[in-house]
């Protein structure tokens, strides 16, 4: 098994810095995701690992071996391209067999290994088809089989699901994850889709402007975003800007710039008088009629401005005297629902108020 280590990698195109001094370690057999908006440098990083770009600075290791100068064809990496890059002049079998032919594997073995690989991705029996006779999902599987059949040290996936429709995307990501766990290949996955990243990764790195902003497990990233960028890029979040007014052993009191008083239980690095940003996820905010007696620490009154019904939840946009606040009501029903213009009360626990961007 192989681990991948990136040390102070840098890459510029002309005057644009695409990757700005990043360091990462991807553990053996780990499913690691690089997540970020388009143009953040995630694909550039992946292509440096694959060997298609030479880093301007920094080092790439597979285990203890420095591979900066190794040609892409010598790296034994399986890669799935965003557009799949299936060769239109070869059928499915030949596409998958290509990497084995390059490794001078005897024909008999190639046949059995290609068959195994195609069975693995549920494409057994389609070896004679040409790529244009396959659906998008099937093409994706061929690309995956082609990358896996060579038993690569590392598997690179460059937004492999972005060309599929929503339902297929969810199916395929589950399948890829299962395959990866069974085969135990160290995998680096690049995507801009935060839901996908949270769903499949063991760990993930959030990238922005060529830099790594935060590395952690999906749960850590979601519940404890390191800063405003991560917080607003991953999921929906309510942000409050304010100043710490009081601290004791269990609580922090904050007055927001709009004048709302909030209580939080996150005590890390807090000092009285400093400016902070508070983040509260919509799913932690409850909506009640205005006369409801809440036991929660943080309460505000407002008017329902709009409602998005999403099936498993209703997302309320509540206009308080301070600012707009998103609140999710799970398993909504006709009886429990509110109407636009209705006066409501919102409330949330102090445990769910996270302090970020503490100076």
């Amino acid at each position: 098994m192989v681990y991948v280590k990136l040390e102070n990698l840098e890459k510029s195109f002309g005057s644009i810095v695409a990757v700005d001094n990043i360091s990462l370690k991807i553990e053996e057999s780990e499913f690691f995701t690089i997540l970020g908006p388009s143009g953040c440098g995630k694909t550039t990083t992946l292509r440096m690992i694959a060997g298609f770009y030479k880093p301007d600075k920094g080092k790439i290791y597979f285990n203890k071996k420095l591979i900066n100068r190794l040609a892409p064809e010598k790296r034994n990496i399986g890669m799935v391209f965003q557009n799949y890059a299936l060769w239109p002049h070869m059928n499915v079998f030949k596409n998958v067999a290509f990497g084995l032919e390059m490794r001078k594997i005897p024909n008999e073995k190639i046949k059995s290994r290609v068959k195994t690989a195609l069975d693995l991705v549920n494409l057994g029996g389609l070896g004679d088809r040409t790529p244009d006779q396959l659906s998008g999902g099937q093409q994706q599987r061929v690309a995956l089989a082609r990358a896996l059949v060579i038993e690569p040290d590392v598997l690179l996936l460059d937004e492999p699901l972005s060309n599929l429709d929503a339902k297929l995307r969810v199916e395929m990501r589950t399948e890829i994850k299962k395959l990866q766990k069974n085969l135990g290949i160290t995998t680096i996955y690049v995507t801009h889709d935060q839901k996908e990243a949270l769903a499949v990764s063991d760990r993930l790195a959030v990238m922005g402007n060529g830099k790594i902003v935060q590395v952690g497990s999906p749960l850590e990233i979601y519940t404890k975003p390191a800063n405003k960028f991560v917080a607003s890029f991953i999921g929906l979040i309510n942000l409050f800007h304010g100043k710490i007014s009081k601290i004791n052993k269990t609580n922090v009191w904050i007055k927001t710039n709009e004048g709302l008083d909030l209580v939080s239980s996150s005590l890390e690095n807090v000092r009285e008088g400093i400016e902070v940003i508070l983040a509260v996820r919509p799913e932690h905010i409850e909506v009640h009629p205005q006369d409801f007696v809440s036991k929660k620490a943080n309460i505000a009154n407002g008017i329902v401005e709009s409602i998005e019904y999403l099936g498993d939840l209703s997302r309320y946009n509540v206009k308080t005297q301070y600012q707009l606040i998103n609140a999710d009501q799970y398993s909504p029903s006709v009886e429990k629902s509110f109407k636009i213009g209705e006066k409501v009360q919102i409330s949330f626990e102090k445990e769910h108020v996270h302090l970020i961007d503490i100076p």
Partner: protein
């Protein structure tokens, strides 16, 4: 200060780009630029320069004044422009409706017509003119038939001089029935690419019928039509074969040719006329480019077009459509039929229109004369070599244009598309200016046959650059990267991925050069008088056909036999191209 820094940045990036180009690409670039300079830029430049050399050796505008002052030259120029314009109108009048009907309607026999519409392109224009003159000229079979018909009807009209006369209508007639498929193919390519929803939304907003066609469909199809129209205009104005066949001397290209080849001709006048013709061509090209835009400029495209609207029409209407298409096709294949009739039937006596019997006499005569039979072999060899050279150079240029970033790229792009708007006579003339001086002793570059190979490959360079460009663009770099990623070396990636993918395009481009060179008129005729001591045995086919065609009624029959062979070879080539390009061969075809 800030500005200065910006310039510094800009320079740095430029220099980086220059350094980023690898040695291999740099040498390709240099080779291409040198070849293009020596064989395109300098010859054209020398023609321009010589146009300004006055009879007394001084530099000035006297030649242009003479051109204007000589009535026959002035008429020649006016005739050329009028002919090209009328041919354009006539081909459009045929091509646009056919394109519309063929892309929008479903009717019986449509498949056959799709095949038949390419027929006119299968006949080398030179041979077509020869056959038309033979069939519809003085004492031609069709002329005699119509004469008898008129007599039988009791009409006393004499067709003594023939139906096709050495005048503008004669030339327009011949050009129109050869060139209308260029309009049809380019327009229908555009039409079939129109997204149906664009028309549907116009309908939805209340537009229909002719208004819909005029406001929505036509503007959308305009780039394709413009590309075809441009091909037709440039082809017509630089056409040398047809006026020679009709012996219509008041035609600019023919006059330039005569000034160059006839004893006592004045070579500089030939330059002046050619330059004026080039200027007209360039002007038209620029105007069309500016006002219409040629985004789809006669593109060779593989792959399926989006589904367009196709309506079934009633059987009554379908009958009318089939009738008109049949008439059109019949007119279009008169040259083919004529060639066969003239090559394989005995000559009827004066005034008769029924051939007197089948004969192989002329074909045997053609093959027995080494000058004729060798001319077939010669043209094959010249054209084959030209297509190898052309595709190699064209593919290299296309590779640089598609895959590389370097300063000077736009210049390379421009020079390599230049021959498109330059009449063949300019290239021929330029070659004479540049290469007919003795180099060592009596040896001249123009006195050996491969000057023709060079002229052919340079003249058709835009086709090969374009066809290679198109296929290379389709090969996404990730296809190559996927192979490298799986362990293939650079060479292996090229041979097993890139080459097989671009091969059809390359071969199609090569075959196109082959066909167009095989039937090339202007440079073949202009450069021939210089082809060495064994000149008579080194002639290209088109030259041999011309010489025979001018040699009396029996020799015309032999010329037709050679023409027949030319048709067969061209048809095979066109068939191959069509297969490789998925039925779009006609688009790349022209002048």
């Amino acid at each position: 200060m800030e500005r200065l820094e910006n310039i510094g940045d800009w320079l740095l990036i430029r220099l980086k780009n220059l350094r980023s180009i690898d040695k291999f690409s740099l040498s390709l670039f240099l080779i291409a630029i040198i070849l293009l300079s020596v064989f395109v830029l300098l010859p054209v430049f020398s023609v321009v320069l010589n146009a300004f050399i006055e009879p007394n050796g001084e530099i000035g505008l006297q030649n242009f004044v003479n051109l204007y002052a000589t009535p026959s030259f002035r008429r020649g120029l006016i005739n050329s422009i009028i002919t090209a314009s009328f041919t354009l109108v006539a081909t459009s009048a045929i091509g646009i409706p056919v394109a519309y009907v063929m892309t929008r309607y479903v009717f019986r026999g449509k498949k056959i017509f799709t095949l038949l519409t390419i027929l006119p392109l299968m006949i080398p224009p030179f041979v077509g003119a020869l056959a038309l003159v033979g069939m519809m000229g003085r004492n031609g079979i069709i002329t005699n038939f119509l004469q008898d018909l008129l007599m039988w009807l009791g009409l006393n009209i004499s067709l003594e001089g023939g139906l096709i006369l050495p005048n503008i209508p004669g030339i327009v007639f011949i050009q129109t029935f050869h060139l209308w498929p260029l309009i049809y193919l380019n327009t229908s390519a555009s039409l079939s690419k129109i997204d149906p929803t664009l028309e549907e939304s116009a309908r939805n907003l209340g537009s229909s019928g002719f208004t819909l066609f005029r406001r929505i469909t036509l503007p959308l199809a305009l780039p394709g039509f413009a590309a075809g129209a441009l091909l037709v205009f440039l082809w017509s104005i630089s056409d040398l074969g047809t006026p020679i066949m009709l012996n219509f001397t008041e035609y600019s290209v023919f006059q330039a040719f005569n000034e160059l080849t006839i004893q006592g001709g004045y070579r500089e006048m030939s330059s002046v006329i050619s330059i004026v013709l080039t200027a007209i061509s360039a002007l038209v090209l620029l105007l069309v480019n500016k006002y219409v835009g040629l985004k789809e400029y006669a593109t060779i495209r593989a792959g399926a077009a989006p589904k367009s609207i196709q309506k079934k029409i009633s059987s009554k209407l379908s009958l009318i459509v089939v009738f008109f298409l049949s008439v059109l096709i019949i007119f279009s294949i008169i040259p083919h039929l004529g060639t066969v009739v003239m090559a394989f039937t005995e000559r009827p006596h004066y005034g008769e229109w029924i051939p007197r019997g089948v004969t192989l006499e002329y074909m045997i005569e053609a093959l027995a004369d080494p000058r004729s039979s060798l001319s077939i072999v010669n043209s094959m060899v010249y054209s084959l070599l030209a297509s190898f050279a052309g595709i190699f150079l064209g593919a290299s240029i296309a590779y640089l244009l598609v895959r590389k970033k370097f300063p000077g790229k736009s210049i390379l792009d421009m020079i390599s598309t230049m021959p498109f708007a330059i009449p063949g006579i300019v290239i021929g003339l330029g070659f004479i200016y540049m290469f007919s001086q003795p180099i060592i002793g009596n040896f001249r570059l123009t006195s050996i046959w491969y000057i023709l190979v060079i002229a052919y490959s340079m003249r058709r360079l835009p086709y090969t650059v374009r066809s290679s460009h198109a296929v290379l663009k389709q090969v996404h770099t990730s296809l190559e990267e996927a192979a490298t990623n799986l362990g293939a070396s650079k060479i292996k990636t090229f041979t097993s991925i890139t080459l097989p993918l671009i091969m059809p395009g390359l071969v199609a481009g090569a075959v196109l050069i082959f066909i167009t060179s095989f039937t090339e008129v202007s440079t073949s005729l202009i450069l021939q008088p210089l082809v060495g001591p064994f000149g008579a045995y080194a002639r290209p086919l088109t030259l041999q056909i011309l010489l025979l065609a001018k040699g009396g009624p029996a020799a015309i029959r032999v010329a037709s036999c050679l023409g027949f062979i030319q048709i067969i070879v061209t048809s095979i080539g066109l068939y191959i191209t069509n297969k490789l390009l998925g039925g779009k061969a006609g688009l790349a075809f022209g002048g």
